[in-house]
Symmetry: C2
Subunit: 219 residues, 2 copies
DNA sequence: CTCAATAAACTGACACTGTCCATTTTAACG
DNA sequence: CGTTAAAATGGACAGTGTCAGTTTATTGAG
């Protein structure tokens, strides 16, 4: 779960090979340090704590230094979200690899990965879906979102036996269930959802069985 | 769908009977006007546009006047959310009344009401679940949230024929599906969800049939 | 090696926000 | 009518995002 290593191949820029500094660059890799600090603030204080000035302060640069790498706050949050999204995409894709001949297990693994990611790093998960904070049309965001989505789609497509008519809607239904439960829980809604220890395993079990039901339904 | 009328009996204060002004009160019903203006800003500019100073400006009072009625911004947003939540609770309860002997239809009506409310007034719906903006432990919020939740629960409890073992989890699953799809759509996620006109009716139909499946499942 | 070019980083400023404070205004009541 | 207490005011403060002008450091050409 080393998010730092993920930073290195984000945005199509391989920072490992970028050893030379560009003109005027006094700081080593300010862009990546800002992202790292932004992730730290996100984890510890939530998205409210991720301010341009705080990120700059914790990195030890002037308050306007980030502007050279992220023209606006939305750009900074979008870049952070891109890292997080890539992380989630990697995890889900990894979870279902090798299970291509067992679609049911693969879907369970997909859902389980989402649950784990969301409950391990709730602030990261929540950032991904805040439309007013990040640029959802950002190409990297779109790409990584598509990776997660198509991972789920591919599982449904493999179901040759079933005469499935509307794969996309099935995927949306499955994802609605997963995402809905996670959102509800992270937002602290529903009285029954407050007791995490005893309820979470039971809820997860039922949700997984319901998802399996969606998968096996004959439309 | 007159939200203004709803303002009158919120927070246990019946403002209709409160004709006399209290000491020092120069403005007619500033508290209610602030709420009304807050709702207007929420609808037109989203939650980001709801600032204490903007609400005060549009109401024609000093920037610090709202502090007498809402000590903090979270209190203002919480009061707005309480109005919205009460509205949603009223709509859902109203939608299922008279359908107590037809649980399937009632659940469909419940879901349909949530869909309609969310797509008619997306900013209001989204405000309800922003934990970091509103005080989820507010008694009015909790009460109205409970009203929505117990409305759904009552429908599942009426199903005497079915040997349902875990009503709460079924309710959570149904609500996860509804809330998950709505959130996904309002956040603009998933490529397939972008074409509203053609996809929304189809998605809704399938989701409703899936919800029906949850209702009829034998645990 | 020298030095202009250039991108990065810095300092300063502006408008805006939420919140606190002291002050003034206003309506109700003895 | 005067007292009183709540409401509303204006000012101030720290914090924010963003913009502008300036300085600095690195690069690469002469």
């Amino acid at each position: 779960m080393d998010s730092v290593s993920l930073l290195s191949d984000m945005d199509g820029v391989n920072l490992k090979t970028k050893q030379k500094r560009t003109a005027g660059q006094k700081h080593g890799d300010l862009r990546i340090e800002l992202l790292r600090e932004g992730l730290a603030l996100l984890d510890t204080q939530g998205v409210e704590g991720v301010t341009i000035r705080a990120v700059a302060r914790n990195t030890g640069v002037a308050h306007s230094a980030p502007a050279n790498h992220f023209p606006t706050k939305q750009a900074l949050l979008t870049a952070i979200a891109a890292v997080v999204f890539a992380n989630l995409a990697d995890l889900t894709v990894k979870a279902i690899t090798g299970l291509s001949d067992k679609p049911e297990q693969a879907i369970q693994a997909f859902a389980e990965t989402c649950f784990q990611f969301a409950f391990d790093t709730p602030n990261r998960y929540q950032l991904l879906w805040q439309r007013q904070l990040i640029d959802q049309d950002d190409p990297v965001i779109a790409k990584e979102m598509e990776r997660v989505y198509s991972a789920l789609l591919s599982l449904l497509r493999q179901d040759h036996a079933n005469h499935r008519v509307d794969i996309e809607t099935d995927a949306i239904a499955i994802w609605s269930m997963i995402h809905g439960y996670i959102s509800m829980r992270l937002d602290g809604n529903l009285v029954a959802a407050k007791d995490t220890v005893t309820n979470l395993p039971r809820h997860k079990a039922i949700l997984l069985s319901l998802i399996d039901g969606i998968y096996h339904r004959d439309s």
